[in-house]
């Protein structure tokens, strides 16, 4: 069977080679890079602009952004017909292609996040390795831990007040540098679509900007969600272990920290959400007003065939409902959870409507293509380019975060308090 034939249903006049070639993994790709960029921008709000209320969130968001970074290129790898040739993008980049920039942007960004993390956690590495060094007869686990942390210090054990101050300066610089790079990382994902002149729905210079805005929205939402989940677990542990560990914060303390962090973050979420929606609506109005040759088929896709996924699921459930939820004063954790879940869903639907919606009509402008997501896999192709593959990609950063947070403890400062 031809690639794409399995999940494509053609209607009316469609040329023989047209299929939905870019399927669920290409929906996941901008969704995941968006989360990376958004999480980083959120952490930078504290480091660069000194928004104190975001202090707890900043550390958390940075580590999470690092975990997401590894998951971000995975959808593309799963999408490629030759995943093992993917490395050619770095080896022989063809720079007229937007995708070729991926290697440079991705590694630059990765280097920035990694160095910022190093400066942020340097003190912790030194403390842990010194503590383990002094310990006599280490167990095997401790020995491994010792080796890992010794390596992570990179041989620098100076944690004097002066050098820590220098670290802070470096963090601020890297965070500031990271904002444009994070925006570029995601803006370029938008450029991949926006520059395809053959696609009437994708081609708009607004695409990278729209992608950046919705990226920040989704990144903030995911950080809020993960933060709430982590805090709930800590509250639960605090309740159980209070007697054993007197040093831990009480449940009430944690609760008040949690709600104030969420309140503050929600404000930024709202601001970026409004920006994202405005740009998307502007794009829609502009297309209708200028009504180029492609508008007839676009209109039938937007207002008729994809009405449910665009207006109901994306704008309605994904944008309007959370907007109202966050605007009602006196936000609660429960409402925030519902809100961020819907926001994440909305951003995912936006990616879906761009990627799948962009292939919903034929190049002839006289035919349509329907996408049927493979749910139950029956071969390797339906595993990687089906629901299973998409879920695997979505779970990946959380699994990575669990591992990475063993080395970069996100709640370290609170324990120390």
């Amino acid at each position: 069977m031809v690639h794409g034939e399995l999940w494509t249903v053609k209607e009316l006049f469609v040329t023989p080679n047209e299929y939905i070639y870019w399927s669920i993994q290409i929906v996941m790709y901008p969704f995941m890079t968006g989360l990376v960029a958004g999480a980083f921008v959120l952490s930078s709000l504290y480091h660069v602009f000194g928004i104190q209320q975001l202090k707890d969130m900043a550390r958390f968001a940075l580590v999470f952004s690092f975990a997401l970074l590894f998951a971000a290129p995975m959808p593309i790898v799963l999408h490629l017909q030759f995943p093992f040739r993917g490395v050619e993008i770095f080896m022989t980049p063809h720079f007229t292609s937007a995708i070729a920039a991926f290697g440079i942007v991705f590694f630059t960004y990765g280097a920035i996040v990694a160095s910022e993390l190093w400066f942020l956690y340097r003190k912790h590495f030194v403390e842990v390795s010194l503590a383990l060094r002094e310990k006599q007869d280490r167990t095997l686990g401790e020995q491994i831990r010792y080796l890992i942390f010794c390596t992570l210090t990179l041989g620098v054990y100076d944690i004097s007040e002066e050098s820590l101050h220098r670290d802070e300066k470096a963090i601020k610089f890297l965070a500031a540098l990271g904002i444009p790079v994070a925006c570029f990382l995601h803006g370029y994902a938008g450029f991949i679509f926006g520059s395809v002149k053959a696609n009437a729905l994708w081609m708009t210079p607004l695409m990278p900007v729209i992608f950046i805005m919705s990226a920040i929205v989704s990144g903030i939402a995911l950080c809020m969600l993960t933060y709430i989940v982590a805090m709930e677990i800590r509250k639960y542990l605090a309740k159980r272990k209070r007697a054993a560990y007197a040093g831990l914060q009480s449940q009430d303390q944690l609760k008040s920290v949690e709600i104030s962090v969420i309140q503050m973050t929600a404000k930024y979420l709202l601001a970026f959400l409004v920006a994202a929606i405005s740009l998307e609506i502007l794009d829609l109005i502009f297309r209708g007003y200028t009504a180029l040759k492609s508008w007839d088929v676009l209109r039938s896709v937007i207002y008729d065939r994809d009405f449910k996924t665009i207006f109901l699921m994306q704008y309605g459930i994904g944008n309007l409902v959370p907007l109202i939820l966050f605007l009602i004063p006196g936000i609660t954790i429960r409402r925030a959870v519902l809100g961020v879940l819907l926001v994440l869903f909305g951003v995912f639907m936006m990616r879906w409507n761009v990627v799948i919606g962009g292939q919903a009509f034929s190049l002839t402008f006289a035919g349509y293509m329907h996408y049927h997501l493979p749910i139950v896999p029956h071969d390797w192709e339906t595993v990687k380019e089906g629901l299973v593959g998409a879920i695997a990609i979505f779970i990946m950063p959380f699994a990575l975060f669990t591992v990475i947070s063993k080395i970069f403890p996100v709640f370290e400062t609170q324990k120390a308090r």
Partner: protein, 262 residues
């Protein structure tokens, strides 16, 4: 001891100095020189001419292409295909290309894919015609532009080729082509497209579809040769190209191109 400032300064100066002296020398690649000298004498730019008045929709070109280029016969993809356009007296347009017209248009009924079969009475038809399609071997090919690894490239004679050993299968070229000529090869899994039968034309043969067309609706020639029949036809007759608004500068010319052709 050398200070850090001095070290950095000297390094920067050294690199800049080396850069300048190296840039004064141009390393001449013998192959490039040879190609530039040869380019003027044996200038070849392949171009294609389709006379839509002559096409009857028999599909022999599609069949020949599939066999010549080893595109699986029953796979629903093809390097070339023929479209049928039917305009009714009520002003409605119907068009189809069942299996790329591999078996020819053997029935009057229009294949609307998932929307079923449309039967149009002969009396209701205002005009109807066939349009063969293939890769336009654009002068400004968007597929070459978007390939992230340079696996698809344009030869000096204008034909756009795909390196099956280097293609990663991302599908960006398929998305970038405004003519829908690209697809993933069902066996090789790499991007696939019409290349004017490059293995034939570079040996002095005609493309398989040109050879197979019993009516002379398809012709291939060298547009840089002023005496080539294709060049003469393009110069002297009223020809059109597909989707010129994309700026791709397509090199497949059509005689009798209707504005309804997509």
């Amino acid at each position: 001891m050398i200070s850090r400032r001095k070290f950095l300064k000297n390094t920067a100066l050294g690199i800049a100095g080396m850069g300048i002296s190296l840039s004064a020398l141009e390393i001449i690649d013998p192959r490039k020189l040879f190609a530039e000298v040869a380019a003027d004498k044996a200038a070849v730019r392949w171009a294609f001419l389709v006379d839509t008045y002559k096409c009857v929709g028999c599909g022999l070109c599609v069949k020949a292409c599939k066999e010549e280029n080893e595109v699986p016969y029953d796979a629903n993809v093809t390097r070339t295909w023929v479209e049928r356009y039917v305009l009714t007296k009520t002003g409605k347009l119907y068009a189809d290309t069942p299996k790329g017209a591999r078996d020819g248009f053997t029935t009057d009924k229009i294949d609307l894919n998932a929307d079923g079969i449309k039967d149009i009475s002969k009396e209701g038809i205002e005009k109807a015609f066939f349009v063969p399609k293939l890769c336009n071997q654009c002068d400004n090919p968007p597929c070459v532009q978007v390939c992230p690894v340079g696996a698809t490239y344009q030869a000096a004679d204008g034909v756009v080729l795909v390196d099956r050993k280097w293609c990663i299968g991302c599908g960006y070229c398929i998305m970038g082509c405004p003519y829908g000529v690209r697809f993933f090869h069902p066996v090789h899994h790499t991007a696939e497209k019409c290349n004017f039968c490059y293995h034939r034309i570079t040996k002095g043969l005609k493309s398989a579809c040109v050879q197979a067309c019993p009516f002379g609706a398809r012709q291939i020639g060298n547009i840089k040769d002023p005496n080539d029949p294709v060049t003469v036809a393009i110069r002297t007759q009223r020809v059109g190209v597909l989707k010129s608004e994309y700026g791709t500068k397509p090199q497949v010319y059509y005689i009798g191109l209707d504005e309804e052709v997509r």
